[in-house]
Structures are given as C-alpha cells and as structure tokens.
C-alpha cells in the first residue's frame, strides 16, 4: 500500500505510522471539564466507510498527515498535511496516481 505524501510524493506504507482518529477535538489546556477530556482521549466512532485519520510520515518528512481512507475498501481518497504548513503544501488527490 502506498500513501501520496503531499511533500514527498508516493511512498510505501512502511515509511508511515498510523496515529489515530483525526476527527477528535481538543479542549483548551485550561479546561477542567473531565467530560470533554474523556471524549478526546477515549471516545472514538470507528465507522465502516470513509474515515479521517492521522498518519505520520516518520521515515520521510515527519509531517503529520490527515488521510481520508475508506475502512471497508481500504482505498485512500485524500491526503493533506496537518498543521501550520498545510497552506503551503497542496493536498494530494490520490486518484491521480504516479
């Protein structure tokens, strides 16, 4: 399986690690609300179908990527950079393969 990293291009899955659900939100650090912190740490949807998730390109650019993957067919629809460099690295539509 390959992932199309927006910076590095098409790379083998071995270069990446899966880093969990990307749809979770984070409370601000001053929040003492146990409920919202519990949601962040423990609650996950686990859908059968399209899923937005983090992958880190550990053996490459080390960026965190947000990947849209279908959990039933395993096909990857979109890959974008998470974080402050998202604006400067265009997301890769993986239908246009190498």
């Amino acid at each position: 399986m390959y992932l199309n990293c927006p910076f590095c291009g098409h790379r083998h899955l071995e270069e990446f690690t899966y880093e969990g659900d990307a749809t979770i939100s984070w409370p601000t650090l001053d929040s003492q609300d146990i409920g919202s912190w519990t949601d962040t740490v423990y609650q996950r949807r686990n859908p059968a179908g399209p899923h937005r998730e983090y992958w880190q390109h550990v053996h490459g650019c080390r960026q965190f990527l947000i990947v849209e993957r279908d959990t039933t067919t395993h096909s990857i629809h979109k890959v974008e950079v998470a974080g402050p460099w998202a604006g400067e690295t265009a997301p890769r539509n993986t239908e246009a393969k190498q």
Partner: protein, 999 residues
C-alpha cells in the same frame, strides 16, 4: 517400466547429458529436462507415497499443478523437502529422495494405513482421539505429529543468503507465453518500461508444448529470439524462473526469483532466491490455464496423468509417458495429445471422448492416424496394482452417468482431460470474486479492485492466435493507461493456430467404479469424503475445504478445487456459481521463508545502534546487552571477576570515590523558538517556562490521560536554545508526542524541534571525588560549590574539546553530566578516566547505574509503566498549581486521587534473600490462604542489592503505601516459587536529605 525417451524432438539438448540420482539410483537426463521428465524418461513409475494412505503415486502433471511428485533435494543444511519434481530444473549431480515412506519407496510399511482407511475418512481426528480423559489428546498428538507431514526439514542454519529487490515499472506482464510475449511487445513498442516475469526457466509457456513451427522456427527458438529482440529495446526486463505469487493493494505484487536453484551450489555472490516487490502502473495477467482431471475409481494409480501433461512431456521433453496410451477427454485438447503421440510413434490404444458429437476435423485426423475413437464414453475405473495396467471404459447417458456398454482395455498410461480452468488466482487475490461462466464452463475473473488487463486464457481466448491478439491489445491498453501512445503493432508469427475449438462437455466425476476415487491427490481426499462432508452438514465450500482438507495442501488444490466444489454443487443440486469458490490467498506456489526474510537475518535482523564509546566498552571487556536497538555495557568485570562482583564493586566505588558511565543513549531534543517557554510549560507538569539560561531542571511529562509518560531533564543552554533529555526507551515516543502537539493541537505555537540524540556523546561522572576529577581537566569554568551550583549548566572545554557540563545527579552522589559532540566523545571519556586515576575512578555500567538510582529512590521505566500518576510516585509536588499543562485535568479524576492507589515505597528484604522482580506483595493474612485467587496489595518494580546500605532492597508500588511504612509483607513470586519477607520503608533508602549530591 512405462515411460521412455523419444528419439527425436523436444526442447532438450541431447549434447549435454546430465547425471543424477533418485533414491540412490543413478540415472541420466539432458539439459532442458525437469526432474519429472527425466524420471519419466528413466521409466520411474512410483515417485512418492501419498499423505494419509501411503498409496503409490506417479508423476501426474507437468507444471505448478503437480500434486504427487514431491521429493527431497540436496543434503545437510541445504536439504529442501517437498520440491515439485515438475518445477526442478535438472542439473548435473542432482540428488533427489522420495518422501513419506519407510523403509523404501517400493516397500513402505505405511501402506498398512490402507487397511485402516475406513477409519481415516474426513474429519476423523475430530471424532476419534477424544477419550478416555480430556487430556488424552495431548498423548495421541505426539504420535500423530510424528506421522504427519511429507518431507523433513533440515534443522541446520541455512548457509545461503537471500536477496531483495524493489522494482517499479510501467507494465508488469505475468507470464511469457503467447499472450504475455505479445503484451510485452506492444507495451515496449509504445515506449513503456516492461517487466516480464515467468515461472519457467525458458520463455514460451504453452508454446513449448506445441509442435507447430513459428516463423519457420521451433517454438523455443522463436521465443528465445523474441526475448532477445524485446531486451534489445532496453525497455523490457525479462525475469525467468520468477513466480509472481501475490497481488496486493496499489498494484503491488510479490514475486520470487529462483536465482540459483538450478546449480548444485549458488555461485559467487549469488543469492539462493531473490524476492521482488514490484510496483506496476499497470499489470497484464497472461497466466494461462490449468487442466482439470476426472474423478473416477483408482484414478490415483501411477500412470494416470493429465492429458495436457502427457502432451507436454512428449513435445517439450521428448518423453513418452507410456507405451500404450489411453486418452479420456471431454474437450478438444485430448485429441491434440492423441495426434501428437501418434506422430511421435507412440501407440494410442483408444481416445474416449465424453461428447457424443466430437468435432469432425479432429475426428477425421485421429482416424487418419488409426487412433480408435469412442464417443460418448469415458473411464469408469483404472486398474492395476503398483501402476496402471488397464482401464474400464464406459458409455455415458445424457446426464453423464455410466450407462450401457463397458469395455476393458490394456494400458500403461491413462491421460485424462476434464477441461481447462484459467489461472485466476492473482485476480482473486486482488479482490475479484471469481464469476462462473456457465457457457464456457469456467470460472472467470470477477470485478478486480486493481489496475490490470487480461490476456489469453484468463481473457477467454480460445486459440493461440486469439491469445496473441489479446496480448497485443492488453499491452497496448496498459501502455495507453500509462499516458503513452498505444502501439499499432498487429503482426503475429506465422504458425499460430487460430482454430476455434469445440465445446467442453462438463463432466467432473464418473460414479460407479470399484475402488477409491480421489479428488485431492496431495491430501488423499476422496469422493467419499466429499459425500461425508455433505452428509454431516459441511456444505458451504469453505466448510467443505476445511472439513475434508481438500485444496489445503501445498498445491492449493490446483487439480482438485473445481472438481470438489462441482461435486458438492451436484450433491446440493445447485448450479456451480451458487456453490462458489473458496478464497485464493498468496502465495500461488510455495515461497521460501528465506526469500521473505531477505537480508533481514543475522546481523541485519534489525539495526544496532552504537554510542560513540561503543568500541571502547567492547575493548575494555564490558558485558554488553541489547536495550531496544542500542548496545549498552552492563558492567566491566575485571580478570576473574564475576558479573555480580563487578556490579557491586562499581556501585560501591561510585558511592565511595568516583565513577564514569556512558549516558549517550538518552533521547535528546534541541528546541528553539519564541514560543518555546510556553510550549515547555504546557508539556511538562512542573514549571519550565521560567527556567533561566545556564540552568537545568528535572521534569515530568504526563500523557493526556494523566498518567506519567516520561521523565527527563531540560537544560537552557542559551536564551533561544534548550536541550531536552528523555529516557532512552521513550526518545522516539516523546519526539512524536511533541511533533503531534505542534501539528494537530497547537499549530499556532512557533517552536522548532530537532532530534540530536546522536549528536552528543554523554557521560555522567558521579561520586564524592567527581569535582576533583573535573577540576583536573576542565578549563573555561569554575567548579567550586559556590560557582557551580546543583542544576547549573556551563560551557567549558576538556583538552580542546567543547563540552557542556550540567550538575545533575541520578545516583544521589555529587555528580555532573558531561556532553560533547560525538567526534570528541572517546577523547573526552579517556581524558576523564585518565584525570580521575588518582581519585580511583572506574567506569560503571547499566547495572550499577540502576542499583544506585534504586538506592536513592529515583523512579525509572519499571515505575513509569503507564499506570502510575505523579502522586503515586511521590512526585505530586511536580504538578504545578501555577499553570496549566497536558494531562492535568484527567490526572485529577476521582479515581486518580483515591487514597489507596498504588504508591511508591521501598522494601527491605527480611531474610537476606534477593527480592524477586515483579513479585506480588501479600499481607500476612493473605499468605495463610492457600487457594488462588489471592488479593495482592501491590508489586515489586525495581529490586537490587544496595551497595551503600549492604542489603537487598527494592522499589515497589503498594496500595496506600505511604501510610504503611514499617509494615511486614511477603513478596511472592508464584512463577519462580519464591517468597521473601519484606519490610515497607521510605523509597529514599540512602541520603534522603540529599546532602551528598549538594556537597
């Protein structure tokens, strides 16, 4: 003796005679022979004994579908069991042994199993061996294990090496038969980079079994020339002896190249096998078709073979499989066999066509060669004892049941063809559920999720000419999909047959004959077993497979799957497409573990990380240990000194004088940026934002769920430059954690992080004399207690090498950490040891390091096991109340604040025995109760022998531990059977005031 060599023909080199042995018998063959064809040519009838019943078996097929002829090759460490003789290239000096027989192939005691065969039907081990007690199975299992299996593997390490290649191409063509060669031609013509892989050592595939000339040349001459032309384009890479065994996501395919199997030993530098991971933009599958046999009584006798294989042996290897051949067919291909044998001068006693109306042209040609043809007929049973000596022919009714006249006929080779199935295994692996085409009577590829083109049999081609044309189109289409201009190549070689064949009569089983009728030869599964499965309710094909083991042998049911499921479909009275097929899984043919391991064996199993001081440790005779990927010294035993004595000596020397240890493996991260102080305040539980330049601080990092994640130190080297240290094991984890926070949670923070773990060579110098040692060799900074306070960080030099020195103590003694860039590491280390000689300095290793910190009551990995909070560890004071930090909210959950949580305590052994690591702590009441489960109060996390206090001690986590100092407990280790009385004390066994490290 039935098989023999024909005087003419074949793609063998009669100039190159090869000598080989089979079960010690010397035999000869020719270059170009497979082991199977050579055995046939030497008249060998029995080549193996079957799996369960130990029946005699002969060579059955000519390719990957061979179920019987499994032999052991080579000796000693290179011995390889279960090799398909049809896939073994004959070489001079080859030594082959038959398997699964004792004492010999001819006289095998195991044949007695045949007498007990009524008990060995499918599923027998689920029903027998069940008593008299529940544990009886473990008794029987020993004997069954001994009797199971075919060949025996060598128990010696493999002396050969295996290689790996990663390859990218525009078009991967699987199969170098007519369709594949055409696809490679048109793809290359269009400018594509082509990989052409074929399992055979020579190109041509099914063409090698044809006698017609192509462009006036023999088929092998023609295909060789074609390969040469293709290779000359510079765009085609031809891989012979390479099986593409698996088709995965994203058009990734796995293949294994048998680089040196055809030599007695691999030649210099050659791997035995090479694994190819191929990423293809487009794939053309030109994998051909496999023949189905018919299921009838005694169809496993040596001499019963696939008709297409008999033809291959005659045309490709110039070997007649028998002297008086009978052919039973349901389709046109049986005629080809009959005609080619007749041309070669072999007697064809009869051709039984199950169809009532055979094609007129073929019937005429057979008649012209005086081949007796029986229509509407097939084999009811084979006859013979050690090999086939005759067959009973029968007529068939419209439903395919035996009906009417039966005839006995003498024969020593029974060639059978039930029809052909395209090799769709790779498409099924790629997600395409096979679709049954009732008109063709074949399973065709289903909807596949990957980017591929069919060519040849898999595309429904019915003639060689059609296969060629499909290949041209497929190669062209594949090239076009890669963005290239498709080729306009349409030419085909002269001589390709374009005759449209007649239909196949669908016949799978002929019932009514006397004797066992086999469906899966390799696993000895009979027609009766299939009926039994049906009778017992195991009717889905997946259950049929697992209950009978049909299709589960190393041949993956290549000659049995379709027949088995057709029989089940018939029993269920449903059409074949409703019955369906089982899933095909890689590998298509067996793959060596060596090829899969590739280079990752021995020293390359995983990389080894070495500190800059590694060579010094090894030279000094350190006992090294692997910690994760790192190599670290445990201790430095002197001449005649035991490891334990060395460890205690080193720890004592640190407490009494001074020692030096290598701490280079710690994770180190350099941090810069205007928001660095804020970021550090957020990730550490204690305050860090106010850390001044030239100071260091111990810090605790929590996970978001409030548990302690890691501990380390933070040094502020310059206004805009921090050095963070982490534990060795968590270096990668902390880096990832910080990178994640900056990418996903706080992207607005301007912080740059860079891993510098390998940049710095770090050592810790510890002991009351440590200052004195530094004063001898350090220049550029004052070292007295007033100038260099605890937690100070200063830049300095040691004999010209730049160093950062931080006054930090892990051991509880006066101590400093000295960091220098890696190239200077060894020089600085040696310098310190040299300067420290008058003070009695010694190097100390991991064990002493651990022992000292335990004595001091410092927590480390065993206490930071992901289940402990800062409060549990007595570090609640490091949870700042002046700022907010990650993990704060969930660390303050109710359950985290409960009084009786496991808390860090110290233990002292009550009887002078070591406290077992991981032991459970039981109070006196519990110890008296004999029956588990027992209520443990806690566990031992870090035991050691305390060098300074002279006792066996341990750190432990005990419920409500802080309130229980002085209590007596038992440390119980059921796994090792140890029980030690202990007393609960403060974890700070040694110098709790910290006077020594602040001196």
């Amino acid at each position: 003796m039935s098989g023999f060599r024909l005087n003419n023909g074949g793609h063998i080199d009669r100039e190159r005679k090869l000598r080989f042995t089979f079960d010690g018998q010397p035999m000869t063959g020719y270059e170009g022979d497979s082991l199977a064809s050579a055995l046939l040519a030497n008249g060998q009838e029995t080549v193996a004994r079957s799996f369960k019943y130990h029946r005699r078996r002969g060579i059955y097929a000519a390719g990957a579908d061979e179920p019987n002829a499994l032999v052991g090759l080579r000796h000693g460490a290179r011995h390889e069991p279960n090799c398909r003789a049809t896939g073994v290239e004959l070489y001079d000096g080859l030594m082959a042994e038959s398997q699964n027989r004792w004492p010999s192939l001819d006289f095998d005691i195991g044949a007695m199993n045949g007498l007990f065969s009524p008990f060995f039907v499918a599923g027998f081990y689920y029903k027998t061996f069940m008593g008299p007690t529940r544990h009886a199975w473990m008794f029987y299992e020993k004997f069954i294990r001994k009797a199971a299996g075919m060949g025996k593997a060598s128990m010696e390490p493999d002396p050969d090496h295996y290689d790996a290649r990663h390859a990218w191409c525009d078009v991967l063509v699987v199969g170098a038969g007519p369709a594949g060669l055409a696809a490679a031609r048109s793809a290359a013509d269009a400018g594509a980079d082509v990989l052409l892989a074929d399992e055979l050592p020579v190109p041509g595939g099914s063409l090698l079994s044809e006698t017609t000339k192509l462009d006036g040349k023999t088929s092998l001459e023609w295909t060789r020339r074609e390969i040469a032309t293709l290779t000359k384009t510079g765009r085609v890479h031809y891989l012979p002896r390479t099986t593409v065994y698996g088709y995965y996501d994203d058009n990734i395919l796995g293949a294994v190249e048998r680089v040196s199997d055809h030599h007695p030993l691999p030649q210099a530098g050659q791997p035995r096998h090479r694994h190819w991971t191929i990423k293809a933009r487009r794939v053309v599958l030109a994998t051909g078709a496999l023949e189905r046999p018919l299921v009838f009584a005694n169809n496993d006798l040596p001499g019963v073979m696939l008709s297409g294989a008999v033809r291959s042996y005659a045309n490709r290897y110039a070997v007649a499989a028998g002297r008086r051949v009978v052919i039973a067919t349901t389709n046109d291909s049986g005629y080809r066999t009959a005609i080619d044998l007749a041309h070669a001068g072999v007697e064809v006693a009869c051709l039984a066509d199950a169809r009532h109306e055979p094609p007129a042209d073929l019937a005429a040609e057979a008649e012209g060669l005086a081949i007796p043809v029986r229509t509407g007929s097939t084999i009811l049973a084979a006859e013979g004892r050690k090999a086939v000596t005759g067959a009973i022919l029968t007529e068939l009714d419209a439903e395919g049941r035996p009906h009417g006249k039966q005839e006995s006929i003498r024969t020593d080779c029974l060639a059978v063809s039930g029809g052909w199935s395209p090799v769709i295994h790779l498409t099924a692996q790629a997600g395409g559920k096979p679709q049954y085409d009732a008109e063709r009577g074949q399973f065709m590829p289903g909807e596949v999720l990957q980017d591929w083109q069919p060519a040849g049999a898999i595309g429904g081609a019915d003639s060689l000419s059609e296969a060629w044309q499909q290949g041209l189109q497929a190669g062209s289409a594949a090239a076009r999909d890669c963005g290239l201009t498709p080729s306009s190549e349409t030419s085909a070689p002269e001589g390709l047959d374009s005759r449209k064949p007649g239909s196949t009569r669908l016949l799978f089983q002929v019932q009514g004959g006397k004797g066992k009728a086999f469906v899966d030869l390799q696993h000895d599964v009979t027609a009766r077993d299939v009926r039994l499965a049906h009778q017992e309710g195991f009717v889905s094909v997946e259950h049929l497979k697992r209950y009978t083991t049909l299709g589960m042998a190393a041949d993956q049911g290549k000659t049995s799957n379709i027949n088995g499921l057709a029989m089940m479909a018939s029993l269920l009275d449903v059409p074949l497409d409703v019955a369906g097929t089982t899933r095909f899984r890689p590998p298509y043919t067996p793959v060596s573990l060596g090829a899969l391991a590739g280079r990752s064996t021995g020293t390359h199993f995983r990389p080894l990380r070495r500190t800059p001081l590694h060579d010094w440790h090894v030279e000094k005779g350190a006992v090294m240990v692997e910690v994760g990927l790192w190599q670290r010294p445990r201790a430095y035993p002197g001449e005649g000194e035991s490891l334990i004595d060395a460890i205690r000596r080193e720890a004592r020397t640190v407490r009494e004088r001074v020692g030096l240890t290598d701490v280079s493996t710690l994770g180190k991260i350099e941090i810069k940026g205007p928001d660095a102080p804020e970021f550090l305040d957020r990730v550490y539980s204690n305050r860090m934002g106010n850390l001044k330049v030239g100071r260091a601080r111990y810090g605790l990092m929590l996970r978001t769920d409030g548990m302690v994640f890691d501990d380390g130190t933070l040094w502020r080297l310059e206004e805009n430059r921090y050095l963070m240290t982490t534990t060795t094991g968590n270096a990668g984890g902390v880096m990832k954690h910080l990178e994640f926070l900056l990418a996903a949670v706080w992207p607005e923070l301007k912080v740059h992080l860079v891993s510098v773990s390998d940049l710095w060579s770090g050592c810790a110098i510890a002991g009351p004399n440590s200052r004195a040692v530094l004063q001898t060799c350090v220049s550029g900074t004052e070292l007295d207690n007033d100038s260099f306070r605890p937690m100070d960080v200063k830049a300095a030099e040691i004999d010209g090498a730049p160093v950062w020195i931080a006054r930090l103590s892990y051991s509880g003694e006066l101590a400093y950490e000295v960091y220098t860039p890696a190239p200077h590491g060894e020089a600085v280390w040696k310098n310190l040891l040299q300067s420290g000689k008058p003070q009695g300095i010694v190097p100390y290793g991991l064990e002493a390091l651990g022992s000292l910190r335990i004595e001091k009551g410092h927590v480390a990995g065993p206490e930071l096991d992901g289940r402990t909070t800062a409060d549990d560890l007595g570090l609640g004071g490091l949870m700042s109340k002046k700022k907010h930090f990650l993990g704060e909210a969930l660390a303050r959950r109710e359950a985290m604040l409960e009084a009786d949580r496991p808390q860090l305590v110290g233990l002292v052994s009550g009887n002078g025995q070591p406290i077992p690591p991981g032991a459970q702590l039981l109070d006196s009441k519990t110890v008296r109760e004999k029956e588990p489960p027992l209520d443990a109060q806690g566990h031992v996390s870090s035991p050691t022998y305390g060098a300074a206090i002279g006792k066996y001690i341990a750190l432990a986590l005990l419920h409500d531990g802080r309130a229980r100092h002085g209590e007596s407990l038992t440390a119980s280790s059921p796994l090792t059977g140890e029980e030690v009385p202990v007393v609960v004390v403060s974890p700070h066994f040694y110098d709790p005031e910290g006077a020594r490290m602040n001196a």
